[in-house]
Amino acid sequence: DVKVTQSSRYLVKRTGEKVFLECVQDMDHENMFWYRQDPGLGLRLIYFSYDVKMKEKGDIPEGYSVSREKKERFSLILESASTNQTSMYLCASSPGSPNYGYTFGSGTRLTVV
């Protein structure tokens, strides 16, 4: 089974801190995605990547950056955490074919205080 592993389940950070959220997939998937999920707003795409060292902005990239140095790893960086970035963060990967859908990690619930 494909596994997408997110480094932390719960994280509490202070305003202004630089935050790294790590995501690793083990099935050689081409595509990787970062979403945040908030009640009433659904899943919103932050950034995605179709290849190593490639990144594209999603719908809400402001305040975030990403890094994909290796195919299996896609990192989300909050340059200077703010309280409005408190959210559930979900990483996903896909092989590029729609037949298999996205495989999501379990999520990181980030609280910025």
Binding site: G42, N99, Y100, F104, G107
Partner: protein
């Protein structure tokens, strides 16, 4: 503007009945539509894909229809069980080649014993 709507935020049904969830979209022309299940505090899990040229798809107790004229997909769970209680999300491919999917807000289904 583009929009995906799912029939209601929450749906309660009695065990053994058929649950029907609706996904309507505006200003998209997807070639593919997917359905996911999400349990509280977890990432979504891919269930089914249906293509624009397929009217219906079945998988065990699940049935999905896709009407590109009505711009609607229906998701049915027959003989529903309390274990089917979860949030169900539809997703459609934004750029019509199956790489990048945009998600609906979800419907929270509760199957009552």
């Amino acid at each position: 503007s583009q929009k995906i709507e799912q029939n209601s935020e929450a749906l309660n049904i009695q065990e053994g009945k058929t649950a029907t969830l609706t996904c309507n979209y505006t200003n998209y022309s997807p070639a593919y539509l997917q359905w996911y299940r999400q349990d509280p505090g977890r990432g979504p899990v891919f269930l089914l894909l249906i293509r624009e040229n397929e009217k219906e798809k079945r998988k065990e107790r699940l049935k999905v229809t896709f009407d590109t004229t009505l711009k609607q997909s229906l998701f049915h769970i027959t003989a529903s069980q309390p274990a089917d209680s979860a949030t169900y999300l539809c997703a459609l491919d934004e750029e019509n080649y199956g790489q990048n999917f945009v998600f609906g807000p979800g419907t929270r289904l509760s199957v009552l014993p």
